[in-house]
Subunit: 155 residues, 2 copies
DNA sequence: GTCATATACTTCAAATTATGAACTATTCAA
DNA sequence: TTGAATAGTTCATAATTTGAAGTATATGAC
């Protein structure tokens, strides 16, 4: 009709519009992830996607803005599924490096490809808009990691 | 160092960059919401923010991409806290309209203001970038609601 | 060297949250 | 009027998340 959701949303502040958009996209992506044929939980999918290279668990915790015990549980799941292994970090033997197995790499590639496609369909943005959005999203993420991550955990 | 998180993220596809940015922002906002002095759960905060005007529970369920029983539970909490009341929708007496009380309005105003500030601080974007991001976010949200919401539930 | 303190991760029990199936009330269409 | 569909509710269960206490390693002060 005339006074529909979109029209009213236009009257809210840009920040709230941005937040609502982010929430909608987040929820939609989560929902869509459910449909992907895997036995992985959402957090397991996220961790897999973030493991573009071996990372310490503490770094992942900071990156995913969660607590260590959650990372332990998630890594346990992925390890049990044969998608990653734990290796001691030679630079600090208290820490583990999470390293994808070949099978983990394959799964990750699949997820990354599916996620990209999901974003495309869910967002409805064209290539240029996607690039623009990605640029801002990257800037936001940089800012969050910069302000939210503990000192020295930038590996 | 040289090969830091941000640099590597730049090598990923725009879609994945966008998704990671969205996830980072979502998680950061969730985390920040915890610090706001309320007795509300996250979902209760979200629902409150979405109630810029009376809405049917089914509309909220579609909007928040969740199931009816979750909406029932969330509305129960807000009703118990005196922040909203249920009114039968005169156009369809099976449906409830969720209407904010005066106290609910106040709480919502507070949350909207805090959320805007949170976005500002978490994202680190300036006004123009925020506007740009908001525009794209709105477009995304429109697309998601258009494709995800059941027919006729645009009230 | 060694002692005290800090860090990286794990364990586990408890709390929170989310879900789906079965149910009530109302509407709609034939 | 009747049968099917829709709006929301209830409730038991499942999944997720957390925080506190524990182990092992590292770091810095003496």
């Amino acid at each position: 009709m005339s006074d529909d959701i979109s029209t009213r949303l236009g009257r809210l502040s840009p920040e709230i519009q941005a937040i609502m958009g982010v929430y909608a996209l987040y929820w939609k992506l989560e929902e869509a992830f459910d449909c992907v044929e895997t036995d992985l939980s959402h957090l397991e999918c996220h961790m897999l996607i973030k493991l573009d290279q071996p990372k310490r668990m503490g770094v992942l915790a900071a990156d995913m803005l969660t607590v260590p015990s959650t990372i332990t549980a998630t890594a346990d799941g992925l390890e049990k599924a044969g998608l990653l292994i734990r290796e001691r970090d030679p630079e600090d033997r208290r820490a583990w490096l999470l390293v994808l197995t070949e099978q983990g790499q394959e799964m990750r590639n699949m997820l990354v490809s599916v996620a990209g496609d999901l974003f495309h369909r869910a967002s409805g943005l064209d290539a240029e808009e996607t690039a623009q959005f990605a640029r801002l999203a990257r800037k936001i993420r940089d800012n969050i990691l910069k302000t939210g991550i503990p000192e020295g955990l930038t590996k």
